[in-house]
Symmetry: C2
Subunit: 306 residues, 2 copies
Amino acid sequence: MQYIIGIDLGGTFIKLGLLNSRYQIKDRVVLDTTDFSGKGALIQGIADFIISFISEHNLQRKDILGVGLGLPGPIDSQGGCVRYLPNIPGWNNVPLRSILSEKIKLPVFIDNDANLMTLAEYKIGAARGSANAVCITLGTGVGGGLIIQGKLYRGSTFTAGEVGHMPINEDGPLCNCHGHACLERYIGNRRILSYAKEVFKNDISLERLSALANKGNAKAKKVWQDIGKKTGIALTSVVNLLNPDCIVIGGGVANAGKILFDSIEDTIKSRAMATQAQHVKIAKAELGDDGGIIGAAILVKQKGLA
Amino acid sequence: MQYIIGIDLGGTFIKLGLLNSRYQIKDRVVLDTTDFSGKGALIQGIADFIISFISEHNLQRKDILGVGLGLPGPIDSQGGCVRYLPNIPGWNNVPLRSILSEKIKLPVFIDNDANLMTLAEYKIGAARGSANAVCITLGTGVGGGLIIQGKLYRGSTFTAGEVGHMPINEDGPLCNCHGHACLERYIGNRRILSYAKEVFKNDISLERLSALANKGNAKAKKVWQDIGKKTGIALTSVVNLLNPDCIVIGGGVANAGKILFDSIEDTIKSRAMATQAQHVKIAKAELGDDGGIIGAAILVKQKGLA
């Protein structure tokens, strides 16, 4: 039996998982990204870690089908090249697949992290069976990925799926992306915190905000309903444009629970066109934080042809 | 040499074209849809017309590769079935392909009219060479079609591409589709006329509004710039979500010219994410009113596998 190594590289952490061919995670490790000074050190660190991870598990290279790696930015998954990483400086057109593969002498496949989460939810999570699906993650930012006709759709320059940067108003606050009134500018988690602080005249955590809403606190409910409405409006555009089978919602903010989901679903069902609205299923992501490494493993098993 | 018959069925007119295999229109005829009372009479009328059209051109059935037909509503193009036509009552789940094919003894293929316009622009018009393209028509309504990875993308229930029903504000006027603040609700041609009437305190045609704008009239320019901005905001969502190579804009309203196009393009280029905005080309439709029948002919030549 061959194993697969799935890696999810973020701005602060690198998560590594050892998966079997049914995508069950047999072991996992988390490294601190900031322990490595710069790109070269980070790549070498990942390579060293993979090699020691393999030997610590008494495995040999022949026991490993390959390594899959998700990164937070536009990735040419066919060419194996990282175009750039918006939140990790110094990565521009890095042929990471060949560099890493050379170091570890194993097949390597790379892709965008939101794409891999989407792939995982499509293959074994909440979007399975949906030939056309949209997955979004609600967190510090709002990421997304698209399955079109049963395949990951990456876009012409590997930047498709940016649901977080769909404007939901003609005019509105400036976003980090230089756009205005982007969904993320209203519902990124720091925005929710500052909105909640305004309402409660005090700092309040997202967990507390959810707990209050679940107990029926009117102010907390109002905050989540408003966040849900804004999310639902961007998704109304997605539903009318793409007529998908399924929308999967994950990420830390999605843990707010039923009040948020009901508001998202009510908005879509009442505002999207009847045929599209009746057909689309709104579901919570099933794989949680593991979606990234599971998607990376699926990419390896499909030899990059996801 | 075989010919193809392309038909574009609208709420008021039916356009028929005789095309050669290079999609050149050799002859064309327009019928009045309202001359036929009801669905059965209309289908029989089309069948009769095709048969007389063939004999008038001294052709025989063997000279005709097939008949392609575009209709204004959701069409199951694989099953050859009209789901419904929002503006033509009485059409519900009509297996038009088999009915018509039986009557005329020729292969028939059917699809949504905006999809066929999109297919035509992709194969021989402004979107050729663009594997990922979005085509929109600006007229009474705002229609759209999507090319994804070189193929028409129809959506899970044949209703993808509804760019006109993407909301551009959280709140806003009620649309015919029961949504709020849909793009079409602001830029459908009757909306532009009533907006212009407000500005000029008088009825003014779209042609006059364009002519005034082109002569530098500040009020007329402002109307078109605002219409362009609203269109550009919906397209910013499309660009960030789909990362297409190309957006093609057609329909009667698109004849307003450079002021409108500049405003659309400026909005997309300044508000969409840098990578997507730099890559996408904004182009005027090249095939004009013929896009529908040309697309219908292409569908026939591809045996419905577009």
